[in-house]
Assembly symmetry: C2
Homo-oligomer: 341 residues x 2
């Protein structure tokens, strides 16, 4: 009923040559005489031939695909990164597979399994929560050199890491607030155990100490990068008798939730309390008030990860370790102002 796709055999027959010659024309044209090459190319045109990927991959012992592990596809933060990754693989003859590690948790053997059964050649993980065991499995089956971490990473492992300069971002945020005159600076963290939580909190604490700013344990509020945790933080802050005059949030979404909660509680932002975010997602410039935040270049992060992985797939080079951190930038908008008192 429908025409079956042409195979290399069909092309060979049409051009009056062997399949070997057809294959060579397509992958190594220099080996073939001009006359033959033209005849083959004509036959390819006529038959509408396209190389069957399953056959090609089988023969070449590769999968032709890379897997992106995303903690939660539903978070807007990741979309820009995915766009960057996707773009980075254009023209590379690798397909980009994406999986959500939250709705679809990985067992220890799952990731290595994808390598073993020839589903993927490499992986980019945006999830820093992979188990050491899962990673050890991958190393064991020779996939260790084809895994790259992006944004997050796993402590104590030696995989390449592409990430923003989180500590610097935290420092910039604190310095900005300090420059405005704030002394009592709070922080809503990410989830416990998350590497970004640590990096940002440590950057923030270090800078606060360097500047000799006062510290109160209750000003450090545990969050989880979500809107809701921002809301909750607002309630906590509203209930304090000694409130911080500014809050540095570990993510823009947290800042949005926080601001909404503070306003609902009768405070004004930035007049009564300043708020700084982290990420600079698309919305941040249009929030009311527009959010002062630390910009991560999500698109470049994605692209860079794709480049690094492609490089390792091509060269099979084994050098590992952290890539230089990508710069972050303080974006000053309307959610920060000098303190009222």
């Amino acid at each position: 009923m429908f025409q079956k796709p042409a195979t290399i055999q069909d092309v060979a027959r049409a051009a009056g040559v062997s399949t070997a010659t057809v294959s060579r024309v397509l992958s190594n044209p220099g080996l073939v005489s001009d006359r033959t090459r033209e005849a083959v190319l004509r036959a390819v045109q006529e038959t509408g031939y396209r190389v069957n990927q399953a056959a090609r991959n089988l023969r070449m012992q590769r999968a032709g695909a890379v897997l992106i592990l995303v903690p939660n596809l539903g978070k807007p933060f990741y979309s820009g990164i995915l766009a960057g990754i996707s773009e980075g693989f254009v023209g590379s003859d690798y397909a980009v597979l994406i999986t959500d590690t939250e709705s679809n948790p990985l067992q220890d053997a799952t990731l290595s399994g994808y390598f073993i059964d020839g589903r993927i050649d490499g992986a980019i993980s945006l999830d820093g929560g992979l188990s050491a065991e899962a990673l050890a499995e991958c190393t064991r089956c020779g996939a260790g050199g084809r895994i790259v971490f992006l944004c997050e990473w796993v402590e104590g492992q030696d995989f390449p890491v592409i990430s923003s300069d989180n500590a610097e971002g935290a420092r910039l945020a604190i310095r900005h607030l300090h420059d405005l005159g704030h002394k009592k600076i709070g922080h809503v963290t990410g989830p416990d155990g998350n590497v970004l939580t640590t990096a940002r909190r440590e950057g923030m604490v270090a800078e606060r100490e360097r500047l000799g700013l006062p510290v109160r344990p209750e000003w450090i509020i545990r969050g989880d990068f979500s809107l809701e945790s921002g809301h909750e933080a607002a309630h906590r802050i509203l209930a304090m008798h000694d409130r911080p005059s500014a809050v540095f949030c570990s993510a823009d979404m947290v800042a949005f939730g926080l601001i909404a909660g503070l306003i609902a509680g009768g405070l004004r932002v930035p007049e009564d309390i300043s708020v700084v975010g982290f990420d600079d997602i698309e919305m941040s410039g249009s929030f009311v008030p527009a959010l002062t935040t630390i910009r991560q270049d999500r698109h470049s992060l994605g692209r860079r990860a794709a480049e690094v992985l492609l490089d390792r797939l091509a060269k099979a080079n084994e050098q590992s370790g952290r890539e230089p951190a990508l710069p972050v930038e303080l974006v000053i908008r309307a959610s920060t102002a000098p303190p009222a008192y």
Copy 2:
């Protein structure tokens, strides 16, 4: 250096049977005696064997993957949908490929090419801008029954469509504003030629006429679902001498931009002007003011599309056409109020 993955041959040797038997144990265990089955399973355990997908796909003449065409991965609207799709394919032995049709535009032959060269078995398009020619190519190579549209669609084509009830959403929005007492209702549309633009505008116009509300052409402002177009719309509205008292936006992002622009221009929302969005993305509940909007269940949309495609891949049934539209819901929050006058 690293152990090569075990093949079916290795398993056969270890179990003292033929490869045919191993294959049967794995795919059709009933055909094999208990003793042999156990021996094979033990051998599988010992060798850590996993079926090589490239070989399997080649032999079975399938690709083992589906492609999701996303207009712009960077838009938060899509992330929830992708999560739903991704979840819908869990346990299905299809890999989910994702491509961004904006950063990586499709030629007419690209999509059909993916089918022909055995890269994909099916596709879900969130992009209603596919060319008729590209789709005709797919039909020609027998892939017509394996394409499903989600959210958007192409007019005049008979592919299955999963979408929300856009017209009903528009009606709900207008009715809500009317119930509050608004008579002068504006609209920021989506981009020209987009099917959602049409569906929502027509729903809105129909309801406005039904309720006998006044119409002014300038109250219908062309947008493109983006934050920026909301901003621009705000400028237009601020410049009008006869302003609408309420605006229905074709997307939440537009509403955010609009509100920010209106506030910057000195108007209050909802006191001076009410705003309704469309989509109910995660942020909408926490925007200030919290956005009244039409909820689309993005997760269910994604899941449903996955189900429909899986169904067609399994049964190869040819019935086409539009699925029943998924219900939408009016979510009343703080961005709408009775008109001031």
